[in-house]
Symmetry: C2
């Protein structure tokens, strides 16, 4: 019996790290049919997306398909989200293009190898972060910075695809470079390409906005109408491919996808060139963190709807394994996609097995469908990207942050402007650094309120905001921040200025908002105490929290303090000055 | 009348930026004699120091003198401290050596030009910081990091001077490099040099520890005894120079100072080479900040003793002007020195004019004394440096931080080890970054306490630490940190876990320690509210501070909140659950 229990316990423990062992043993036919249906719908959506995002990353179309096969298996084994659909996504594809484009590589083969290596490095970084439980690092990307980054990336991506819609050449990693390059080549626009591209964009927008209501009006069920509307890109792909083939548009200068190798993904290995690793490392780190944040946001949103939990650090392992799998099978960096995960969820996926079935669907496409893609115009793929990413563009965050919090607004605006002006890597890095700097700056100049007793209570509030009772011989200052090195000097200057008043006998520092006093700040308080004592004023503390008090007790601070430490501010006031 | 008032007001305003206009107009004979006496003592102390620190920086000895003339005038005009003595100091000299040593310059002339440029750049940075009131940046250097850095620098400097005491070659910017290089050349030790060097070290230590008590015992006044003891290095210089000249030690392989140009400082210009500026910029920034921090610490300590105030942002201007002056007159980066400022203060200096008189003293030395320095052994200068910097070495900070605060300890230890192992620039940068990262890490995983009512009061404390009253249908959680992007997700997870308990009807978040709620955190609270509402639980806030409340009122947060916002936690408990 004990052996069985021990094995069961070990199984449960192992299930933490290999979640498939957990949900896999409870898998049944109901879940199977639900997962299968979801997989069919996601597969249909994912085929054109995978091709399009590979194009966006500047890679051969088949790499998009390869990135949608083995990584999905890996995530199904190691991931904790029941609905997350992994694969190539728009923002990560753009970041891949930026990372590899920076390298100035001589040949397409080098470019592919760099993409594979980038996926491998990103996978390693995610695995290391997972093993060392560094998932909290992603928390330093604030919501507004992410929102601004996604909006700016969407604009950048849409602009970068205009060249395919116009049938011209254009390069650049920032909006200005892209726009300049587009304008310079505008005269070479291929009208037929433009017709196909613009027509596809218009059609796809109509499918998004107009088709579903129309279908429902025509009497179809809401669910069926929704699924049909999701197949819009497939319809665009089929129709424009047929047109391209029937009218031999290639001969008329329309760029087509061309030969896409038929068969299972190749076994690939990353390059182990130290120079390449060091030039890709920064980009891989950014891709890992952005990918993780995007993935975990959608995974948590979907999990919450079904009261399920996801485990962020295990998600790192799942995504890390996916990227290593991508590197092993001719893919490029992947992560959990927002739109496809929502589709997967809405289509009823119950377990990560849905991802495996999707992977089998894409595998079949790679083995049998690729010859049919030969005549597919690149303009059609560009159109699917444009319509998808313009859905991400949302400047509402600027208004929301402007109204609520100027520091957040500054961080968002900087992220958007720098992403558009200098590309994704600089944009998001600046956003993260700036939001941290602004936070630190704020804590370095804390709000300090002089407080008095709210009549009829034992509660103390700001004398400038509330009608309160005070006493001329006693000043109580509430320090609204942790006391640490960055604000120690500011607080010392401020307190010395505020306590330079005649007739004062006691100063109380109310510490209800002080969660930490570091050594720099402790020295500051001791210095303040000495200076006040020279003027015959005592210094006391009140409402010091348990963890802070524990620390203070380890020093001789309390032996020297001219005043006392009071449990409550009310007790301090009663002891030091008559209350009424 | 109004014109006179306006002029007087303008004079006072100008006096803010050019403090000499302020104290200069009240200058009298008493102050003059006091300043003059202090200047004589500081000059005697500064002559060997200036020569020695130039040697430490790898520069010709006269540059140390030049750096002690015009910069002192500039500081006297623009600085706010009455006692600060500016000039070349040990740590900044070491940082200068590291900064310029990194450049691999071909000739001594290039090396000198780089030092002049470094002073100019550092001066510009300080001036810009002063004009834009960026003095608070220095606050991000915590006391423990500074203490660790000074200790490690002291060790590094002492080790770097051993080569002069031994009369051998040795190079390196880290303790390991230096020690290795010293060991490799140990066989070439010049015994006479060693006798002079070790003899000087022993003599100077004896002067520090034994001479003053001895003189007092012999009947001299304490003040005179102190001044005589301070002249120890001068005595060592005089005696060893005479010995070196009398026994022609140069012929016996003892390195001497040699030709030091005689005359006023030359007019120099920094290089305006863009490459040089960009390679020196990082070093100049570090030198500026470290120099500023060292300077302001001693200035504030001395000002506090006389109840004077210094103005940190104006100090930046004073130090900036000093460094620009150094660059214009053949000097190298300068700052306020600890030991000499204390001597200046103790000797009775009353105004910055003491600095001007010191500058005149050093100018006279540069004009007339330099030929006498020809035979001065470098070992003597090295000895004065070693004795001076070993006084800075103090590992007590490790013990203090270990007992009080592990994050501080980690930052200090890292600073010390990296400074010793990889040099000053990496050491201090790592210390600053690590202390910020550790602080952010701590705020990203805040302490959250469930609180209850302390009987007989209206005060709420942690249920785990105090005997308090609670109610089964109500849980109150005190969030001990600002709510911002870095901890928004952690808090959401934590609160969801803590509120998943049966029979719960109300959750109150007590916000007495919350000084900020940014947009990321606000979204988190709204999400938490929605999820709790699904389980029929209301969410309320209590003790929200004025500035935080102001922000919340700008949104529709309060319209959606399932519970209420209470002025006090006591009011929340009375409203939501029977107290007794």
């Amino acid at each position: 019996m004990n052996v069985i229990k021990a094995l069961a316990a070990r199984g449960a423990a192992l299930g933490q790290f290999v979640p498939i062992l957990d949900w896999g043993r409870r898998y049944d036919q109901g879940a199977f049919s639900a997962d299968l249906l979801a997989a069919v719908i996601v597969t249909i959506m994912l085929i054109p997306q995978s091709l399009a995002y590979a194009l966006l990353a500047g890679l051969p179309a088949e790499m998009g398909l390869y990135a949608s096969i083995l990584p999905l298996f890996a995530y199904a084994v190691f991931g904790t989200s029941r609905a997350l659909a992994v694969g190539p996504v728009a923002v990560v594809s753009l970041m891949t293009a930026a990372a590899i484009g920076n390298l100035d590589l001589p040949s397409q083969a080098d470019y592919i190898s760099a993409a594979v290596t980038l996926a491998f490095l990103s996978g390693l970084i995610l695995l290391v972060m997972g093993v060392f439980r560094l998932g909290f690092l992603a928390n330093f990307l604030s919501h507004p910075v992410i929102a601004g980054f996604i909006t700016a990336s969407g604009l950048l991506i849409a602009t970068s695809q205009l060249k395919h819609v116009l049938g011209i050449e254009a390069h650049g990693h920032s909006l200005i470079e892209l726009a300049g390059s587009l304008l310079a080549h505008l005269g070479q626009t291929n009208v037929i390409t433009l017709l196909i591209g613009a027509g596809s964009v218009a059609f796809l927008f109509w499918v998004r906005r107009g088709l579903k209501p129309l279908l429902i009006k025509l009497g179809l069920g809401e669910r069926l109408a929704d699924s049909l509307a999701k197949a819009g890109p497939v319809a665009a792909v089929v129709v424009t491919t047929l047109v391209s083939w029937g009218f031999d548009l290639q001969a008329k200068g329309v760029a087509i996808v061309g030969d896409v190798p038929q068969g299972v993904p190749p076994l690939t290995m990353p390059s182990f060139d130290a120079d390449l690793w060091s030039s890709l490392f920064g980009s891989a780190l950014l891709i890992s963190i952005i990918g993780f944040v995007e993935s975990i946001s959608v995974a948590q949103t979907l999990a919450a709807k079904k009261r399920q939990r996801i485990v962020p650090d295990q998600e790192l392992v799942g995504l890390g394994a996916s990227n290593v799998a991508a590197a092993m099978s001719g893919g490029y960096p992947v992560t959990g996609g927002f739109a496809r995960s929502v589709v997967n969820f809405d289509a009823g996926a119950e377990t990560p097995a849905a991802g495996m079935f999707t992977a089998i669907g894409i595998l079949l496409a790679a083995m049998f469908l690729t010859p049919l893609l030969y005549f597919l115009p690149k303009a059609t793929l560009a159109a699917t990207i444009i319509v998808a990413v313009l859905g991400l563009v949302d400047f509402h965050i600027l208004k929301a942050t402007w109204r609520y919090h100027r520091a957040d607004f500054t961080a968002v605006l900087t992220t958007i402007l720098l992403t558009l002006g200098f590309g994704v890597e600089i944009g998001v890095s600046a956003g993260v650094v700036l939001s941290i700097v602004l936070y630190l700056y704020k804590t370095s100049r804390p709000h300090i309120a002089e407080v008095g007793l709210v009549p009829g209570t034992q509660h103390f509030r700001n004398i400038d905001r509330h009608h309160v009772l005070t006493h001329p011989e006693l000043v109580t200052l509430r320090l609204d921040e942790n006391l640490y090195f960055a604000n120690a000097r500011y607080i010392e200057d401020y307190l010395l200025a505020r306590t330079a008043r005649g007739g004062l006998k006691h100063v109380v520092l109310m510490c209800s908002a002080v969660n930490e006093i570091d050594l720099s700040a402790l020295e500051t308080i001791e210095e303040l105490d000495r200076q006040l004592a020279d003027s015959g004023i005592t210094l006391s503390l009140s409402e010091v929290k348990g963890p802070v008090m524990d620390r203070l007790k380890r020093t001789d601070f309390m032996d020297h303090l001219s005043g006392d430490v009071y449990l409550t501010q009310y007790a301090a006031m009663r002891a030091l000055g008559p209350v009424d």
